[in-house]
């Protein structure tokens, strides 16, 4: 209690003391940086490219046929996903991941097709996520990670990011579907909710990791509800009606193929 005798009640020194504590605290904060985070993920989402009713694996350089009997050979297939949510429709429990963490699933880069996320352990029977890049990120300047402009998915203009890309060759020549647009009627951002295969639930147990296989069907880009023929529209690279139609088509391309609980 000596400290509160009038002799020590000296404002400059008290101030210095406070600064000292502030300094110590800021030092401590930095020390915590090196600590490895525990439970970094407990589910791995594995995206697989397919064609035709999810049955045929898609391989770049091979030729496939779309609904309109047009032959096409894909050379690039990628899309942005983020804001994952696991849902149990019976108990109405929903667990959401942070929506500002973006993933670019690029089927030319196998590492990018596996997304590791951490979910509160529980039994879930739906997964939902958003395809695309939210409007704020389209105008946020230089970014890192999946949104790094070096990934070649940034349009350098008010058009923002290319949210999904399917490119290749066809009998009609090269085709290029770079789908984007985030403003007003041109918005192509889609949120999808997927059912799990019959009798398969995601059953997360503390300390265990589950895997979920999700297929992405390239054929869905061309058909239902909108007819997109390569011969009529080989190049869709600006926001607008066609882009929104393709986005509506591809929002149905995902299927949860299987769930493997550990």
């Amino acid at each position: 209690m000596k400290l509160i005798t009038p002799r020590y009640f000296n404002f400059p020194k008290l101030f210095i003391g406070l600064l000292f504590f502030a300094a110590v605290f800021s030092c401590q904060k930095e020390l915590h940086f090196d600590k490895a985070p525990e439970n970094d993920h407990n589910i791995i989402l594995k995206f697989k490219p397919v064609v035709q009713y999810d049955s045929i694996p898609l391989v770049f350089g091979k030729t496939y046929t779309n609904y309109f009997k047009e032959k096409y050979t894909p050379t690039a297939f990628k899309f942005y996903v983020h804001a994952f949510a696991m849902i149990n429709v019976d108990s109405n429990k929903v667990f959401r991941t942070a929506s500002d963490k973006y993933y670019l699933v690029d089927f030319a880069d196998s590492a990018s097709t596996e997304i590791k996320i951490a979910i509160l352990p529980y039994v879930y029977n739906r997964i939902s996520f958003t395809i695309g890049v939210d409007s704020a990120q389209n105008v946020s300047g230089g970014q890192t990670g999946a949104l790094d402009p070096a990934k070649g998915m940034f349009w350098n203009s008010t058009d923002g990011y290319i949210m999904a890309k399917l490119e290749g060759t066809s009998s009609a020549g090269n085709f290029q579907y770079n789908i984007g647009g985030f403003q007003g009627a041109n918005n192509v951002i889609k949120t999808v909710t997927l059912l799990f295969p019959y009798a398969q639930n995601l059953d997360l147990k503390p300390g265990k990791t589950s895997e979920m296989f999700i297929t992405a069907d390239a054929n869905d880009w061309f058909y239902n509800p909108h007819d997109i023929k390569i011969s009529a529209n080989p190049v869709i690279t600006t926001p607008g009606l066609l882009a929104t139609q393709v986005a509506e088509n591809y929002s149905k391309m995902f299927t949860v193929d299987s769930v493997a609980n550990q």
Binding site: K13, G141, G142, T158
Partner: protein, 337 residues
């Protein structure tokens, strides 16, 4: 205990300064200027960041064949426009499609380029870098070139704390440099501060600048309102450039281009988005007689801007006082040694 505390604090502060962290800079906001649009949020302006940006700005390695640094189209002696070129030269003997704008007071810009296609200045460099008729290079190639250069490793470390060279840091540094290009030391500025006086001709021109309502689109002190307007220029059939409509796809934006600042206007000829006019007088001739009517013509130009030859002469005399000769010789902005 308290004495010990103060000891540790001062030691802590010292190590903070000695550890080579970047030295903060403050953007100079000239008196009378409004608050800037770009506020360096998340990209604090530092001496080291500025110097790195300057090196990048003048480095040909940002282009595919090494010949087209940012500075090839943005020359300091032309207030960072391309001197005496309607459009600029780019990769493989190609022309750009538009007149290179001068680079100054960019921190006050809301949207970049003649059509406003870029809303955040940090990503502006990506456009000329990727354009096949400008720098024609990919960001990844540039980064791998920079990563092989030890000087860059040192400079990225000095500016950002470690040797990581990525697109965000490159864009941040270029942004720090170009946003530091503040031009506000023309004769006009010195007259405003009471350090100089206009000649009679310049004064007449300044008065006409107000009475002829030039200030509606070119208000002081930035001499632009950053809006997009159709000033009645007939569309060039070869370029077919419809300006802002290219970005918004909205017919109401047809033929609208950004109102450029008139600062340093005497240095930045030729004029307009495609450089079709080679002198200020030609621009004034256009406003007084050849404005072409159309559905998106700016209402302020419905009756043109009638000007006599004498009035044009006075206006040109005034506009010449907007040349900032300190800025174009400022060694901080010239190529690094």
């Amino acid at each position: 205990m308290l004495i010990l505390g103060s000891f540790v604090v001062s030691a802590f502060k010292k190590t903070g300064n000695d550890s080579g962290g970047p030295h903060p800079l403050k953007l100079i906001i000239p008196s009378g200027f409004p608050a800037p649009q770009y506020t360096f949020t998340g990209n604090p302006l530092t001496q080291e960041g500025f110097e790195l940006g300057r090196k990048l700005f003048y480095d040909g390695r940002l282009s595919k064949d090494g010949n087209f640094p940012c500075a090839s189209c943005h020359q300091q002696f032309a207030s960072f426009a391309t001197y005496d070129h309607a459009t600029s030269h780019g990769f493989n003997n190609q022309f750009t499609i538009r007149n290179a704008p001068g680079l100054f007071n960019l921190a006050w810009n809301k949207e970049m380029t003649w059509d406003g296609g870029i809303t955040n200045i940090e990503v502006q460099p990506l456009m000329p870098i990727a354009a096949p008729n400008e720098m024609a290079e990919t960001v990844n190639n540039i980064l791998s070139k920079l990563r092989q250069d030890n000087e860059y490793k040192k400079m990225f470390k000095a500016a950002f704390g470690n040797e990581t060279i990525n697109s965000q840091r490159m864009l941040y540094a270029i942004t720090q440099f170009v946003c530091s290009l503040v031009s506000a030391d023309s004769k006009y500025d010195r007259v405003k501060k009471g350090l100089a006086t206009f000649t009679q001709e310049q004064q007449n021109g300044y008065a006409l600048f107000q009475t002829k309502k030039c200030t509606s689109c070119h208000p002081e002190p930035l001499f632009t309102d950053h809006s997009f307007r159709n000033v009645g220029l007939p569309v060039d059939p070869y370029l077919s450039d419809y300006g802002k409509m290219r970005i918004t796809h909205n017919p109401q934006d047809s033929l609208k281009f950004k109102v450029p600042s008139l600062r340093n206007v005497a240095l930045s000829f030729p004029y307009e988005h495609d450089g079709r006019f080679s002198s200020i007088t030609s621009v004034l001739d256009h406003y007084s007689s050849t404005v072409q009517d159309g559905p998106t013509l700016d209402p302020l130009l419905k009756n043109k801007i009638p000007l006599t030859n004498t009035e044009k002469y006075y206006l040109v005399e005034f506009l010449k006082t907007l040349t900032d000769s300190t800025f174009i010789k400022d060694s901080r902005f010239s190529p690094p040694q």
